[in-house]
């Protein structure tokens, strides 16, 4: 057993007084959001990245001191999650989705083109510090494939040409506009501050949805399709339904009439599950 550590009156971090004071204020606010301050560690690591541009040695020490845990415990968490960078990140993370669906739809070609164009590979940063290129995993925008993320804002339906043009603008320091997101992409540090839970007041910028998000709704509008009327269920008075409806009540699939050509022409000799091996 080692001796109890002596209480350190000062920090082991090398932040200047002003930075440390501001970090401390923010970290205190983060910890106050949770019943247990330790829950604040993930946002605090985002906070550290908003100052240092990556999870620095000082950032790890800072989190450890705030939470009263060891630097090793903080490192264990920081190294588990891919968004925490162990080296100074570029101003922009350009992430090309190369999970299966985006990859086959063109994501592989986009990544290869960008990699050649920028002269960097996965998780490498251009010499000017503008762009860190990454292969990213599925980002829940498959209906917009192939997808590129810039500082985790959506650039939908990309091509090698659109992606290299995007990268060129970023290198020149010009604003770029996500397909679905804020009116322009903020820096990696600014993004990290939002992810730490400090809003930047930009939530109302940009669209609510792109065309694929509305694809089904648009068809429903054109054809006058709606969900069943609430009153038809006869349960609008607050007495929650006591029974489940039996099979075959109106609206159940058992009772549905053929609605499309395929209903009437194909597969009507099959029962659910008949395709099972």
């Amino acid at each position: 057993m080692t001796a109890e550590p002596v209480e350190q009156p000062t920090t082991k971090t090398r932040y200047d007084a002003e930075t440390l004071a501001s970090l401390t204020t923010d970290a205190t606010a983060i910890m106050a959001r949770y019943p247990d301050p330790r829950s604040g560690l993930l946002p605090m690591l985002h906070l550290v990245q908003s100052v240092d541009g990556y999870v620095s040695r000082d950032g790890i020490l800072f989190c450890a001191e705030m939470l009263g845990i060891t630097a090793a415990e903080v490192s264990a968490v920081a190294t588990f999650y891919t968004q925490y960078k162990r080296h100074p990140n570029g101003t922009y993370t350009v992430g090309v989705c190369t999970n299966t669906l985006c990859a086959v739809m063109g994501g592989d070609a986009i990544f290869d083109e960008l990699s050649e164009h920028l002269g960097v590979g996965h998780d490498e940063t251009t010499p000017d510090g503008a762009i860190t290129l990454e292969r990213v995993e599925c980002n829940a925008a498959c209906d917009y494939a192939p997808v590129v993320m810039v500082n985790w804002e959506f650039f939908d339906n990309q091509t090698p040409e659109s992606a290299t043009a995007l990268a060129d603008k970023l290198i020149l320091g010009e604003d770029v506009v996500p397909t679905r997101g804020a009116a322009s992409v903020c820096s990696f540090k600014q993004m990290s501050r939002v992810l730490a839970g400090f809003p930047d007041g930009r939530a109302d910028e940009g669209v609510g949805a792109g065309a694929p998000t509305l694809a089904g709704l648009q068809i429903a509008r054109e054809r006058g399709w709606t969900a069943p009327e609430a009153s038809a269920a006869g349960d609008a008075d607050g007495a929650a339904g006591q029974t489940s409806p039996p099979v075959g009540t109106p609206g159940s699939s058992a009772e549905r009439k053929p609605a499309t050509a395929s209903d009437a022409s194909v597969g009507k000799d099959k029962k659910p599950g008949e395709d099972a091996k």
Binding site: A76, A220, A227, Q242, T260, P272
Partner: protein, 447 residues
């Protein structure tokens, strides 16, 4: 079968994400009604509605709430799983971008029903604007008195914290999510105890998917019978079906459970012009793949299960005949190897070796017996891993070998891939010669 816009119904409105837009469409009517009900009545209504978890597992939502032990005076928590990361799954993110209030109202009702006064929304960190919208939605709801102290004069208090993750698929597993929310590495916990008994901070906790919770307000407002009037006998209600890949109009289609892929393809303009369906996932990459044979399988929990797969998250990834199944499966396997949390040996080591074998088959360096080796590896993971990630990792491999064994064999016999990858892309291009290590990023980074 017609589409049934419920969750999607406000998405085309101007500034659809704002509270005022949501209220004009009847939003928060469910909460106002719920606050006049007994909490137990709400739980019963959700049980009666037949709502099952929309995050993939399909466990009855009301029953999950019912598992909480009786109140003991200590805290109880609701944690919303907004860590949508399953490959192909793209429903919760657009929901929260377009209509976050739908989720917030569901959080308020559910919290009231289960006796929770502090709820958490754990959203993946890789969707910046969605996080902005959620933070803003919570702020608006506080200002309007839908969150905070003495909500709508009912005496019910609720705080909501929106928490951003930091990039780890495994945090979609509910106990890994709880560890992550506690500030730890996101690794699954041994169950039991289940979260209902010992969840967040070892207190009784309900963990539900975004779409499940967002479905609650309409169930309360319109009644359980209304919800159950949609769908099939055992798979009730509406759900978001996410079509992606080689379809003419990919996107979100909100329909009663039990709709078929053939019907959805009719609505979405079919497979892209000049091509035909080869294989598809019914519910994300972790669900065994389907083929043309399954076009008429009703997309409900029972029928998809009986046909050998899982409804999962209704993430319908569509691949036409230009796609090499070995390439597709190899890439998914990279994903599982990358995202394996490392806690248990079968998954950590198994996914690593699966990746090696698939890479060499894909590169034309496969050996006789590699398919048996793959299947043997799968057998050593399936059912033997700590959580469902391992099971998910083997699904695409075993199902694709079952349906397309000849295609695997052709890679081995022909010492290479017979497909032109550019034929699958949405734009013409000349594939570059990959340098050794060009693939290293796929599945090599992170943990």
């Amino acid at each position: 079968m017609t589409l049934t816009p419920v969750l999607t119904d406000t998405w085309d409105k101007d500034r659809s994400w704002r509270l005022a837009t949501y209220e004009r469409a009847g939003g928060y009517g469910g909460l106002k009604k719920a606050l006049r009900m007994e909490p137990a009545e709400i739980v019963q209504a959700v049980k009666d509605s037949g709502l099952r978890g929309r995050g993939g597992a399909g466990f009855p939502t009301g029953m999950k709430w019912g598992f909480l032990p009786p109140p003991d005076g200590g805290p109880r928590y609701l944690v919303v799983n907004a860590d949508e990361s399953e490959p192909g799954t793209c429903k919760d993110i657009p929901l929260m971008l377009a209509s976050p209030q739908h989720l917030i109202e569901g959080v308020a009702i559910t919290s009231f029903a289960i006796g929770c006064d502090h709820a958490f929304i754990y959203v993946r960190g890789e969707v910046l604007h969605v996080y902005r919208r959620l933070l803003s939605a919570v702020e608006e709801a506080y200002r309007a008195g839908y969150l905070g102290k003495n909500i709508q004069g009912s005496g019910f208090d609720l705080d909501v914290t929106v928490h951003a993750g930091a990039g780890a698929y495994i945090c979609g597993e509910e106990t890994a999510l709880l560890d992550s929310l506690e500030g730890l590495r996101g690794q699954p916990r041994l169950k039991p105890p289940f979260p209902a008994v010992a969840g967040l901070y070892a207190r009784p906790t309900v963990v539900n998917n975004v779409e499940s919770i967002a479905s609650v307000p309409a169930i309360v407002a319109n009644g359980a019978d209304w919800f159950a009037s949609m769908g099939t006998e055992k798979s009730q209600g509406h759900g978001l079906f996410s079509l992606s890949g080689h379809v003419t109009r990919p996107g979100q289609y909100e329909a009663p459970l039990g709709i078929t892929l053939r019907e959805l393809l009719d609505l979405s303009g079919g497979i892209r012009a000049g091509h035909e369906l080869k294989f598809w996932t019914p519910g994300g990459s972790s669900t065994p793949i389907f083929t043309q044979e399954h076009l008429d399988t009703p997309l409900d929990y029972e029928s998809v299960g009986a046909a050998g797969s899982m409804l999962g998250t209704r993430a319908l990834q569509i691949f036409d005949e230009t796609v090499c199944v070995v390439r597709a499966v190899s890439r998914w396997t990279d994903f599982y190897a990358h995202e394996s949390c490392g806690k248990c040996t079968p998954c950590r080591e198994g996914t690593y070796w699966l990746k090696q074998v698939l890479h060499r088959i894909e590169a034309g360096e496969g050996a006789e017996g590699d398919l048996e080796l793959l299947l043997d590896l799968c057998d050593n993971i399936l059912g033997k891993a700590f959580c469902a990630l391992g099971d998910g990792a083997v699904s695409p491999i075993t199902s694709s070998i079952e349906h397309f064994r000849d295609e695997y064999q052709a890679h081995i016999d022909g010492h290479g891939c017979p497909f032109d990858p550019s034929a699958s892309a949405l734009f013409p291009y000349t594939p570059k010669t990959r340098t050794p290590g060009a693939l290293t990023g796929a599945g090599a980074g992170g943990h």
